[in-house]
Symmetry: C2
Subunit: 234 residues, 2 copies
DNA sequence: AGCGCCTGTCTACGCTGTAGACTTTACCCG
DNA sequence: CGGGTAAAGTCTACAGCGTAGACAGGCGCT
């Protein structure tokens, strides 16, 4: 019994693949955080010798890149959408949700590119950039302007996500209590405003704030660019 | 000779202090990156046993927090500035410069708060928040609106900094070459736009983009809020 | 002079990533 | 079916990490 092959379970010894390795890695990160993702632990989780992982990722760093890619691949982008502003809005909300589902991966998304020149990044992480450029080009933007819009947009988006995650606490009920407790620790003389804001901090509607920011930013960018075009035409 | 006390040099055995430890830590991070900052290495750099550092920081994590604090303490904020938009603009440019001077610290600034509830953060990292709230309050914003503005502003600012640092390469001359080389690696069919943008990517005026984004965002926020106030009054 | 506390040192433990040699397995071809 | 080859997985080992806990030294106070 217990045939060593052809079992559908992970514990049995089906052949590994980059996909299964990365999937398990993501699972582990989601469940226990980035620090829990060690080669040994992941090997154990897969029922394999840790060293076997090196067949599917050159490094631990490459493994982390793979996890980033796996998450970013779940971000749907429709570059042919005729309404570019609406599309950017949707992408933003989708990425926000993705970040909330995989909060432990966000540091990777943000940090890894800092130590990897653009041209050497995993292709999956560059795909959103390319697709958004396509979206903007279809909307009539010159390449350089598209890049400009992309930078402002993506910067704001990532900034918002980081900001929200920094305030985010899992249990919203516990949130306010914990905030009060935490803020109570602060010296009252130096941090009066912050302490007074406890209730406001507890009820943070991230989607709404994101959306309002996007409204301002996107229409502002549009206006700025059309003004610029009009100016250069006259 | 070589009296064991009273020498002004670091190599000699002057008493350690949290300040000297953190200063050396920052120096090390700036010079060789975050990974180079190990307890053993820092101890060696200070001519002390690694374990002595634990008198000045509970943890390696606490050490990293200390470094963040040290950098953020260099950010001047004038909460009494009557022109709140100008002040926010100045802060943004100052923080940007600070980030460019200490790029290896940026991951810390961004990442550490993700794993530390707001109330438990090092006080130094909360100071900018409190001061900006004061600035906005002096400008006439209601507390909740001030928080709103702060979130949009700080989110955009951090997003911009991350974005810029992700494209940043030390030597601007080498930059374009490296970019071309890196982008050349990308499959032409999947990344036509990105590849075509090599020259535009090479000449990134971060200060300008930051400023333009801020103009849009700040005036947008101001308009939105004054409209809101007017609406509720009528 | 003597007590006590603070600083710094030492040793040791369990954990990490990963190089390099090795064994086992899967598959293809005659 | 037999044999050979390339890939997949394993084993051992090493250098480095953070840090607990026991200990030593010196300074300042009484």
């Amino acid at each position: 019994m217990n045939a060593p092959r052809a079992s559908g379970r992970t514990p049995a010894k089906a052949r590994l693949s980059r996909e299964t390795v990365l999937a398990k890695a993501l699972e582990l990160v989601d469940a226990e955080g980035l620090d829990a993702l060690t080669m040994r632990r992941l090997g154990q989780e897969l029922g394999r010798d840790p060293m076997s992982l090196y067949r599917y990722a050159e490094n631990r760093a490459a493994l982390l890149d793979g996890v980033s890619e796996l998450v970013l691949d779940q971000l749907p982008i429709h570059p042919e959408d005729p309404d570019w502003k609406a599309q950017l809005r949707n992408i933003a909300h989708d990425l926000r949700m993705l970040a909330l589902e995989h909060p432990n991966v966000v540091p990777l998304l943000v940090t890894r590119p800092l130590s990897t020149p653009l041209g050497l990044r995993p292709l999956g992480t560059l795909r959103p950039l390319e697709q958004i450029l396509t979206l903007l080009a279809s909307a009539g933007f010159q390449p350089a302007d598209a890049l400009h819009v992309y930078r402002a947009y993506y910067g704001f988006l990532y900034g918002h996500i980081l900001n929200e995650l920094q305030e985010y606490v899992v249990d919203p009920e516990e949130n306010e209590v914990l905030l009060r407790l935490g803020l109570h620790r602060l010296p009252a003389k130096e941090f009066p405003r912050l302490r007074a804001l406890a209730p406001a901090l507890a009820e943070y509607d991230g989607a709404r704030e994101l959306d309002q920011g996007l409204t301002i930013l996107l229409s502002g960018l549009e206006a700025q660019l059309s003004r610029q075009v009009a100016g250069s035409t006259s």
